[in-house]
Symmetry: C2
Subunit: 659 residues, 2 copies
């Protein structure tokens, strides 16, 4: 007897994680359990066996682990991403002839079918055949079993043997794997260091760090500010460009085309006679000062992130040295940046359509590697969507070959598909539409898209409450409660978030004019002096929220986000937990900064496995108060004048006894 198993009988499809059919890697961070799923099925009724194969990309040898069937022909397996770098995985499946036999045979035994001997002889044949693939003791054992099944032993004895654990174990070990089917492509998971997945960012203008009003801040001043920032719990300190600033067409206060001699210009108008993208603005300090600042920041548990803005002021050395990198207009002038009819005469974009793209690309990459050589490992990339897609894929992969721990944050505020494509090309994290998602439905839909669809495999959101460019109307009008609510949302909806300070903690909320999202007297165009010790500062509140994030692993991931039903359109409720429920957080936010809102929220205690009759305990980590609830539906009331949010840590007071 011989059963041929044609390979094409087994289908493996719908494999996740998989980005564009494997054209791009999926993303994970060190320590993640990478869950792999696939639809695996065959014609007929045979029992299948499937295995997950994985290895580090630089190694040849696969590690194998079994996959388990879920429902509806979906299978699941997993591996741990224990180091940075690329992992490769694949899936193999085969018809399990012995398990197919066993599954049918058990039904026959249960039904009391009388003529079992002939089926046991089939098993004897399968065991003998597998035994010939085994060596030594195993082979002898299997031959003995096959003989026993053919012997005069009682049917009861034979059934016991053939359905026993040990036969099953060896039949799996020596199964015929030659006809196993392997998925038609190997898939890659790019594993980043932990900070790629979990971090709290603080953006500040170093030139505004001076303790003396009106004085240009320096890197030394920034060092003095480190205890303040680290004390709030931030671990990434991001600076706008620190390079010399052009003078030609320099913008004055509030983006005026007229500037006076004291206006410092926008840091994004990069380059002057003092140098370009590899130089430091002389008034900030020296390269040595910068390195010293990085060292000191490190001692406070913080990293410095730099801004990569690939554009030039008219005074940038590149303009003279490489005129071929810019677009020349028919009138013999260089094409400055425009968003018709708006004009930015102080900024020259690079012309990526240049006839000498190779030199341009190499030079731009050398800017990143220059700062990486100085120790910088985090880059916030300005407007990447206005540069060619292939350029970024080439640059990021090249830099990461040399510096695998580099993190790139994409600042692309553009159409969703373009933002997502940049993430596929290699950007570690991305700015998002969070700033403009203020209502319950908008937040729920957007977060569901980010955390519960295939996006989560490659697009890592970094939620910013504000930026030097974006002061949302919600903050302009909502007062202190709005600032608190948006901080809680940014810090608990996603694992990476950021604020632009001290504007945020000092609740700066005046727009340049009504309807504008620009700050009045924006720091982009002038030095600011911030009174960080103001008694109404949100410093303490932010400190607490960041501590809650650090102390609760549930808040350090995104795909565990789950929205809970509430009966009030102003109450947003969601929960996150670790697999073992040891860290179980539920957040309720009153989205209305002006009025007390109350309602009932649905606590998903059944999916959590809580006893629906027994009490559970909620500690509000923001307020240090404790509640005891019972059942799914519970009442919540939030007065924004006191606190616009609860962040509950939940404990099941009646866990089921371990089995």
């Amino acid at each position: 007897m011989k059963i041929e198993e044609n390979n094409a009988r087994i289908i493996i499809e719908g494999v996740t994680p998989q980005v564009d059919d494997g054209r791009f890697p999926a993303k994970a961070v060190v320590g993640d359990t990478v869950t792999v799923e696939a639809d695996i099925y065959a014609d007929g009724h045979d029992t299948l066996a499937a295995r997950l194969l994985y290895r580090r990309q630089e190694q040849n040898k696969w590690t194998e682990s079994p996959m388990k069937p879920l429902v509806n022909d979906r299978w699941r397996g997993s591996f741990t991403a224990d180091k940075t770098g690329n992992y490769v995985f694949n899936i193999t499946a085969r018809v399990d002839r012995f398990q197919s036999w066993l599954s049918d045979f058990k039904k026959r035994v249960e039904a009391g079918q009388p003529d079992l001997e002939v089926y046991l002889q089939t098993a004897a044949g399968l065991i003998a055949e597998a035994g010939r693939r085994a060596s030594g003791a195993d082979g002898q054992k299997m031959a003995k079993w096959a003989n026993m099944l053919k012997s005069e032993a009682t049917t009861t004895q034979k059934i016991k043997l053939a359905t026993g654990v040990e036969v099953g174990r060896l039949m799996d070990r020596y199964a015929d794997r030659r006809r196993a089917v392997t998925f038609d492509r190997e898939l890659v998971v790019a594993v980043d260091r932990a900070k790629a997945g979990f971090g709290a960012w603080y953006e500040m203008f170093p030139r505004s760090a001076s303790a003396t009003p009106g004085q240009h801040g320096t890197f030394r001043d920034c060092e003095d500010r480190l205890p303040y920032i680290a004390g709030m719990g931030f671990d990434v300190l991001y600076f706008p460009p620190i390079h010399p600033i052009g003078r030609t067409c320099r913008k004055g206060k509030n983006n005026s085309v007229n500037c006076d001699a004291n206006d410092p210009g926008t840091p994004w108008a990069i380059g002057g006679k003092e140098g370009g993208h590899k130089a430091i603005h002389p008034r900030l300090g020296t390269l040595e000062d910068f390195r010293h600042l990085m060292d000191t920041a490190g001692k406070y548990g913080m990293e410095i992130a730099l801004d990569i803005a690939f554009q030039c002021s008219p005074d940038h050395p590149y303009v003279k040295e490489h005129p071929e990198w810019f677009l020349w207009r028919p009138d013999g002038t260089v094409q400055y940046a425009e968003n018709p009819p708006k004009k930015y005469q102080d900024i020259y974009p690079f012309n990526f359509g240049t006839e000498r793209p190779k030199e341009l690309w190499e030079e731009l990459k050398s800017i990143v590697t220059y700062w990486a050589q100085q120790g910088v490992r985090i880059f916030r990339v300005d407007n990447p969507h206005t540069k060619p897609f292939p350029f970024w894929e080439w640059l990021i992969s090249g830099v990461k070959r040399e510096y695998p721990d580099v993190i790139f944050l994409s600042e692309a505020f553009t159409r969703p598909k373009v933002m997502y494509h940049l993430a596929k090309l290699g950007f570690t994290q991305s700015y998002t539409y969070f700033t403009w998602r203020n209502g319950k439905r908008d937040l729920t839909e957007y977060l569901t898209e980010l955390t519960q669809t295939g996006l989560r495999d490659f697009f890592r959101p970094n939620f910013w409450t504000n930026t030097p460019d974006i002061l949302h109307a919600y903050l302009q009008a909502g007062g202190r409660a709005a600032f608190m609510a948006r901080l809680v949302l940014a810090a608990t909806l996603t694992s990476s978030y950021g604020i632009y300070g001290p504007a945020y903690e000092l609740m700066e909320s005046t727009p340049r004019e009504p309807g504008s999202e620009e700050y009045l007297n924006s720091e982009k165009y002038e030095l600011k002096h911030w009174d960080i010790d103001r008694p109404d500062s949100l410093r303490e509140f932010i400190t607490r929220v960041n501590r809650i994030r650090r102390e609760n692993p549930a808040l350090q991931h995104n795909r565990n986000l789950w929205f809970n039903v509430t009966d009030n359109e102003q109450l947003l409720c969601y929960s996150k937990h670790t697999d073992d429920l040891s860290s179980l957080i539920m957040v309720v936010v009153n989205l209305d900064p002006h009025r007390t809102q109350s309602g009932v929220v649905n606590v998903p205690i059944e999916p959590w496995g809580f006893d629906t009759e027994k009490p559970y305990q909620l500690d509000d980590l923001l307020a240090d108060t404790r509640y005891t609830w019972r059942g799914s539906w519970n009442y919540v009331e939030l007065n924004p004048a006191v606190s616009p949010a609860h962040i509950f840590h939940i404990v099941n007071l009646a866990p089921a006894p371990p089995r």
Copy 2:
């Protein structure tokens, strides 16, 4: 000036229709408009132009048609499938430099920007360059335009020229297409004849067609039955296997293992001393009788569909001639069909694991081509999921090469992914779970899956109200109203449907035992005599429903299905319409066969473009009654004792005047 457009800047992805990345063709029928969509975008802000390319597979030359942007970087184009056979399509996109310039320039003009001359010079350059690709008069015209833009003409004159229609037209015609990006694979649409998409099937046992009770029916008797069946509006007449039936282990009445000499056996126990799959049961008639029947059916507008059941009775000639095609057990007997612990000793499955699969495959295919040679063009395939996937792909493609108009209906009642895979492999239509979807939520979810997801591109449902194997509890308990409701659902939810008669129109509803879905005294095991002239027959009702289907093109498609909200869980409401709304059907079904149900239904008049203030007319095509409604929410009441359904044809009494 020269702008390089790197190809990789343009992304084309998410192309539909596309089945498993193009591994399988999508499906359409002759006359369909095939709508192709894709996400097409690039970095930056350039304007793109995209074209759909399509051709018949056997031709080399592409036809091109423009694609239009929808929202969110989604583009759409279409072509008409005007003949059976395979069409190939692809998509090409390019940066449209002139349109990019024009889009920016129009914003500048609108904003009253003063310095427009330099931008007009850019246009002059673009036009001159494109003009060099043009020949003859066009080339001269474009050179003249370029010169005019460089001349001393007024800016107003130049603006008028550069933004004019004619310049745009020639700039498109002579655009530089060398850097256009083409999607990385050509995709195929398999176009079947119309009946693959729209048909009403009637299953009957020819042996029960005799006018004389107790007498074995013949093909001649079937001819006498044709006016009755065609009169009800069916266009496919499907017969269970018409071949000789085995005697060994033949089953008696109600699937008894004991049979007496007069029991005819089940037609699916194929093969006896009189022959096998290419022979005709002698009591049905001769091959000539069968051909005559097919001819006569054709005159009534009907086709005969045969059953392809690849299995044998123990008496099938193959068992002796090709013992290697069967699985032999250790005791020297052939493995009969089993579903442990159930046994079917009268059926031997083929062993596709045979060491000589090629001969088996060829012989089985020759069965299909044999009947195709006799003129049969529709095959209902029994249990295809128990034969190898690759076998079906090979068989169907082989048969269709010779007989491109053949239709295969897959009778696979198994797990969803297996059913869907068989459809990918080439089955024209498929049986479904419809019989077991009786509640509002189940029907809504299932139909949404079938008609509003990627499934619709390759899986064509054929909804059966009943089969000789399936008499659902809903019909057992629901009486006449249940039979009427299920007929309306099957006939209007999908464009292909079938009934097993005369059991259905005569409302046969007694199960073999309580809890069973088998018919008592099933026709599978005995001859039946049906009194088709019984006055309570559903014949007239079915006739009317089939006429409604033929007269209303909206009911001849599936992807236009839309569910409408009702406030009663027993009222299911849905609508279908042609693109031009000339055929606009709304169906309301009372799913409760026992009680009158009433409620309000939401008529989607806004998406239909009706004036929300004006009246519209509803003709109930089942009852010949007319209603006039206004607004979205309207009251419906359905008494199942009268009619469990409305099938409304809707006319907008106040259409907007054509613009």
